[in-house]
């Protein structure tokens, strides 16, 4: 199981908001650019309109093969769900973070992360999400979520994460 799937399973077992908050807490340092809109602001993972639900049940991230920015079948499936959720929860906006693993130079990885974020943005727009609700940002290799120097970690770090902002208060 990937760490995310493991975490999801753990949350399902515990079914407490605390788990989701922890997840979001560490995520804020790693992925949470927009910061404020965390699981704690909305309902827990059982609330289908919550950020926690989006992160864990819809899936807030997709992974890429080495040096690729095209979307795998699994990524498209996740993004199709993301698009559906975003259209049902129109008060949220999203920042797509593109990330790369550490195998690469800093500048190239910034450009690669931008490509990855853009691939996700293009897909979500094609699925019907309004373009003005989505922004992209690249972090290159600056914010790995896994810290080992093996493919097991690299695979998790080559990612695009859809970070929600707004929600109940509107955008």
């Amino acid at each position: 199981m990937t760490p995310i799937v493991r975490l999801f399973a753990l949350c399902m077992v515990l079914l407490v908001a605390g788990c989701a908050s922890n997840r979001n807490g560490s995520g804020a340092a790693v992925d949470g650019l927009s910061g404020g809109a965390g699981a704690g602001m909305s309902g827990g993972v059982n609330d289908p309109t919550s950020v926690a639900y989006f992160q864990q049940s819809v899936g807030d991230r997709i992974l890429f093969p080495v040096d690729e920015s095209s979307l795998t079948a699994a990524a498209r499936a996740t993004l199709t769900e993301q698009a559906r959720w975003l259209m049902n929860n129109a008060s949220y906006s999203a920042v797509i973070e593109g990330h790369a693993d550490e195998q690469g130079t800093r500048e190239y990885n910034l450009a690669l992360g931008a490509r990855r974020a853009s691939s996700v943005q293009d897909f979500l727009i094609a699925q019907g999400v309004s373009p003005n609700r989505i922004r992209t940002v690249t972090f290159g290799k600056e914010r790995p979520i896994e810290v080992c120097s093996d493919e097991a970690c690299y695979a998790q770090n080559r990612r695009a994460v859809t970070v929600l902002a707004g929600g109940g208060a509107g955008v």
Partner: protein, 446 residues
């Protein structure tokens, strides 16, 4: 008369004959004391730094500090070996008394540096002389440098630069500074802030706090401004910082666009950078006076990490237009680009040498990273280092040394600064208080 021509062809002979034979080989060819920096192994030149004399108003500690900077610089260059003062036979008692050459020959010193430090109020003065022991001649005129007490180390660097230049014939580089990124915190939540230090790691001061992620600073030709990439807005954007006042501002703020990898033009008037829009990264320039932005490339490929030639007429950059990261050169105004890298693997972060003759780069091949140099036509590629992750070379002011980031693998991996000669010799870690990355070497200080 002595000449040390330690060329590659002589190396075998030098190894076979040992150090004392250098002189025999050299003497037959005549000429002044000289280290020629060429490829291959060079035996460091034995040099004596006489304890600097304590002149009017100076303390013994001050004199010692200046002489130590001189000795450390020369040692750090890898071209000199300073002889322990314990071996000295005749003490230097007066700056103007004649040198007892025989006493310095006896300890095999090829060169001798004498100096005197004096102080008046806040002003420190250092004078020095350089002697070629075996030809029994002074090399060049004695010189005197002065500055505030706070710049005492710089005075030592200036003396060392003179010694280095007179003996090697190369340009000086010790009196320079390095802007870099100082790093702390775990790998998945790294804190980064801009810092500046002397080229040897001394006198570190911080230019920003670590509230916002900062990357890849670049220093202007006059050394008073720094370009860098900051996430202060939540998005990567180029900022410009005044090193004296620490005032900083965003250069260009277009919503939806991300800018990074900036570099000053040699005249300081233009910023060359890359801009990502809609997932595509291209090269642009920004005229600092008018704010006018000009697009240089329009390709669906990645174009980034640009660097000007010293005359400002050309740009070397990396692009994956061929399918993988490679190096290209094009006119500074854009136009047709010529690929210059053709070896195995991927090439990135090209930087044009201040001498104009070479491009330093990062090469990624078979899971290893290298710092390398090649001529500007792509010929004579030479890899200087190899490790898990080396990247981002920056040139010393004289184009003989590059500094770069080296990151170690794993969860506890971290980044340090290293320098290496363009011959691949003298790889040395540059000490920093914290982990460090992205060095940008300044020009020689004014």
């Amino acid at each position: 008369m002595i000449q040390l021509r330690l060329t590659a062809t002589l190396i075998a002979a030098l190894f076979a004959l040992g150090l004392t034979s250098d002189r025999a080989v050299a003497q037959s060819s005549g000429g002044p004391l000289r280290i020629e920096i060429t490829e291959g192994v060079i035996e460091p030149l034995p040099i004596a730094i006489a304890p600097f004399l304590v002149g009017a108003g100076a303390s013994p500690e001050l004199a010692k500090q200046v002489a130590q900077v001189v000795a450390d610089d020369l040692e750090r260059s890898g071209l000199f070996r300073t002889i322990s003062p314990n071996a000295f036979i005749s003490p230097i008692t007066s700056f103007d008394s004649p040198v007892q050459y025989a006493d310095w020959k006896a300890i095999n010193a090829q060169a001798l540096v004498t100096g005197e430090v004096s102080k008046s109020g806040d002003r420190v003065s250092v004078k020095f002389r350089l002697f070629d022991i075996f030809s029994e001649n002074q090399m060049g005129d004695g010189l005197q440098f002065g500055g505030s007490a706070a710049s005492t180390r710089r005075l030592g660097h200036k003396v060392a630069d003179q010694v280095y230049s007179r003996i090697t014939g190369e340009g000086p580089y010790f009196d320079s500074r390095v802007v870099f990124v100082s790093e702390s915190g775990p790998k998945n939540a790294r804190l980064k802030r801009l810092a500046v230090m002397d080229y040897d790691g001394a006198n570190v001061s911080y230019l920003t706090n670590s509230d916002d992620l900062v990357l890849a600073p670049r220093i202007s030709a006059t050394g008073d401004q720094v370009l860098y990439t900051s996430y202060a807005s939540g998005f990567p954007r180029i900022r410009i910082l005044d090193t004296a006042t620490l005032q900083q501002r965003s250069l260009d703020d277009q919503p939806g666009q991300m800018t990074f990898s900036p570099r000053f033009s040699p005249d300081g008037r233009t910023v060359l950078f890359s801009l990502s829009d809609g997932g595509n990264t291209d090269l642009y320039t920004l005229d600092l006076a008018s704010g006018k932005r000009t697009r240089l490339t329009s390709a669906p490929s990645i174009e980034t990490a640009p660097s000007y030639s010293p005359d400002g007429r050309q740009i070397v950059f990396e692009s994956d237009r061929s399918g993988s990261q490679q190096l290209y050169i094009m006119p500074a105004t854009g136009g047709e680009a010529t690929r210059i890298s053709f070896g195995q693997g991927r090439y990135g972060t090209p930087v044009w040498s201040p001498r104009g003759d070479l491009v330093a780069f990062t090469k990624q091949n078979q899971g290893r990273f290298h710092i390398g140099v090649m001529r500007i036509d792509g010929s004579e590629e030479r890899l200087l280092t190899a490790s898990f992750l080396d990247e981002g070379p920056s040139w010393a002011p004289n184009g003989r040394v590059v500094m770069f980031s080296r990151e170690t693998a794993g969860a506890s991996g971290g980044s340090s600064l290293y320098s290496v000669d363009i011959t691949g010799r003298n790889l040395a870690r540059v000490p920093t208080p914290e982990a460090a990355s992205d060095p940008a070497w300044s020009p020689l200080l004014p």
